[in-house]
């Protein structure tokens, strides 16, 4: 079965042209542990790719490599068809690959505006090594990005610790939108969220395509993955075991595929 669906998906790739981001034969060894067997993975333009698999299936390893947090043992990454080396998450971010982690990568004590611009602060002026941030611009642009998501937030100086879990994930999504990321990797973004907030985050993810942002959506909830994705990749024991267009499968199929593995 898996051979079958893999070939179908390969045809779909050809139809979409050069992928935005592609992993070619990447694998990862952690000491003697082979967390990821040689794997191809790609994200096309205006595409949301669902990534499913049980814990330890290699999903996290794969996305950590795409996010620049880890280096592959073998294989390489291509962005817009060109081979790239990602030495850090910063390299990946510079190439337009932004990651939203399940634990919510924000600094709770800091304001929304400061959080959005961490590591990419707009500078008003510099005195040698002293680079002074442009606070007006940070507040203004943070507010603008947050407003597009209808969060009901009116003050970009609010500390993130005052926000709900869903609002926090939304601010992270706003951050990715602000920096015009090409690909957003969402690693279980709805973990620890209430049902209402989960729906909100799913809505925002679905709207990413309006902004020409592609996404990799990772979740244990097959209903969510099926609803969100254009294409779904399933992994088990470090292998890609299936790759299928959303229309080809049902939620039940997804459960069966993962259950069989």
């Amino acid at each position: 079965m898996s051979v079958n669906v893999l070939s179908t998906a390969a045809a779909a790739v050809a139809a979409r042209g050069t992928p935005l981001i592609a992993a070619r034969g990447i694998s990862k060894w952690y000491g003697a542990v082979n967390a990821l067997k040689p794997t191809d993975f790609h994200v096309g333009r205006n595409e949301i790719v669902g990534l499913v698999g049980d814990n330890g299936a290699g999903k996290s390893t794969l996305i950590k490599i795409l996010a620049g947090a880890h280096k592959p043992t073998e294989g390489h990454i291509e962005v817009d068809g060109k081979p790239v080396v990602l030495n850090s998450t910063r390299d990946a971010m510079r190439l337009g690959i932004e990651t939203i982690y399940q634990y919510n990568a924000m600094i709770p004590q800091m304001s929304i505006a400061r959080n959005i611009f961490i590591g990419r602060e707009p500078i008003r002026f510099s005195l040698g090594p002293l680079r002074i941030m442009d606070f007006d611009r940070m507040s203004r642009e943070a507010m603008k990005s947050v407003e597009t998501l209808d969060l009901g937030l009116r003050d970009a100086d609010t500390p993130v610790s005052d926000l709900s879990g869903g609002q926090r994930q939304a601010v992270v999504i706003a951050r990715a939108m602000h920096f015009k990321s090409k690909v957003l990797i969402l690693d279980e973004p709805t973990n620890h969220l209430s049902v209402k907030e989960t729906n909100k985050v799913l809505d925002q993810t679905a709207r990413l395509k309006e902004q020409n942002i592609s996404a990799v959506f990772i979740s244990h909830n097959m209903h969510h993955v099926h609803a969100m994705s254009d294409r779904i990749v399933a992994m088990a024991r470090g292998h890609k075991i299936a790759e299928m267009a959303k229309d080809e499968v049902t939620v039940e199929d997804l459960h069966r595929i993962l259950g069989e593995s």
Binding site: Y101, M106, Q109, M110, I132, D150, D203, A227
Partner: protein, 354 residues
């Protein structure tokens, strides 16, 4: 795991109604009042504010009790001894915001001036060259503290506790058995010359506080310091080199401790290898009283200044009140606990009111 059976269907079309209900509930859940908060209520919810109130109370109490606490002579004395503690508190505060500790500042406070003294008085090294060398030594101590902590994954509490003993022992070794007279330092005046009411050291303190305040609160690197101490993993994932941020803070902390030690040696003209003993805890107390969180990510230069003034005022005020000076540590201990309780409770009070 959230199971929302309705989700697949409501993705685009059916989502509208649900979303509008969501908005209403989110608005009423209380984010709106945050934006209406006045500058005043923002200010009083800051931890520095309760420290400032305590400072006013302490000033008033000592003035009423002694009648001369705020006199020209006594404030002059306070401003003479303040910078030596205050400069160290600046460094420790920034390091604590970055999420690390330094228990070795008291020993570095001695090691740096003692090495300066030994180099010039014993080995006849040019004072300027010696100054450059010992400031380099301070940076090296900070680098070792940071590199050992981060490379080996040891808590900085332990690394710098070790450095506390090493640096103290080395400062005694540096001076050796037979005490030597202090050499003549051409840069002595620049650091400590007496202008009458104030000394040059106060100008250095204020200057350093302003520069470091701007650096910490308004520069991109300052943003990274807060991010690193607030949530190191998140900062790393956002592309911040947290190792570089922390090592910079360690080096700055040691450098300021060494500079403060030199200032004290030049002011007292007494090269004592025991100077700065116990200082590490006083400066951490100063940082904490000024609103710096032990867990990192929270603190300010204003708080560091208020904390240092409070500690020096209580020390001095008790002496002036002719209270047995041994009560100082009791007062300090109570003050630390009270200020942290106030900070925590004030924070809870204001976040509940929002």
């Amino acid at each position: 795991m959230n199971t929302a059976p309705g989700v697949p269907g409501r993705r685009k079309d059916a989502g509208g109604q649900a979303a509008s209900i969501l908005h209403a509930s989110q608005l009423s859940s209380g984010l709106k009042p945050t934006s209406r908060k006045s500058l005043w209520s923002k200010a009083i919810s800051k931890p520095e504010f309760s420290a400032f109130l305590m400072l006013v109370a302490v000033f008033a109490a000592f003035q009423l009790y002694t009648g001369f606490f705020l006199s020209y002579a006594n404030t002059r004395l306070l401003l003479t001894i303040l910078p030596e503690l205050g400069i160290v508190v600046l460094g420790v505060t920034i390091l604590m915001i970055a999420g690390e500790f330094d228990l070795s500042v008291g020993s570095v406070f001695a090691l740096v001036p003692m090495t300066l003294h030994a180099l010039t008085a014993r080995y006849g090294v040019d004072p300027y060259l010696a100054l450059v060398l010992v400031l380099g030594l301070a940076l090296l101590v900070g680098y070792i503290n940071g590199a050992v902590t981060l490379s080996l994954g040891i808590p900085s509490f332990i690394t710098t506790l070790g450095m506390l003993f090493v640096a103290r022992s080395m400062s005694i070794v540096a001076v050796g058995g037979n005490p030597l007279a202090l050499a003549d330092y051409p840069f002595g005046d620049v650091l400590v010359v007496n202008f009458g009411y104030i000394r040059a050291s106060l100008i250095w303190y204020v200057g350093l506080a302003v520069v470091l305040g701007v650096w910490l609160h308004a520069s991109d690197f300052g943003n990274w310091i807060f991010a690193t101490g607030g949530q190191a993993q998140a900062a790393k994932d956002l592309g911040i080199n947290t190792r570089r941020v922390k090592i910079t803070a360690f080096m700055l902390c040691s450098l300021l401790a060494g500079l403060a030690g030199i200032i004290q040696m030049l002011r007292t003209k007494a090269p004592l290898p025991s100077m700065g003993t116990g200082l590490e805890l006083e400066v951490i107390a100063g940082a904490v009283i000024g609103g710096t969180a032990l867990t990192g990510g929270v603190g300010s230069i204003i708080g560091a200044i208020i904390g240092a003034i409070l500690i020096r005022s209580i020390d001095n005020g008790l002496v002036m009140s002719r209270v047995n000076a041994e009560w100082f540590r009791t007062a300090l201990g109570v003050l630390i606990v009270v200020s942290v309780v106030l900070n925590v409770k004030a924070g809870q009070f204001f976040s509940r009111r929002r």
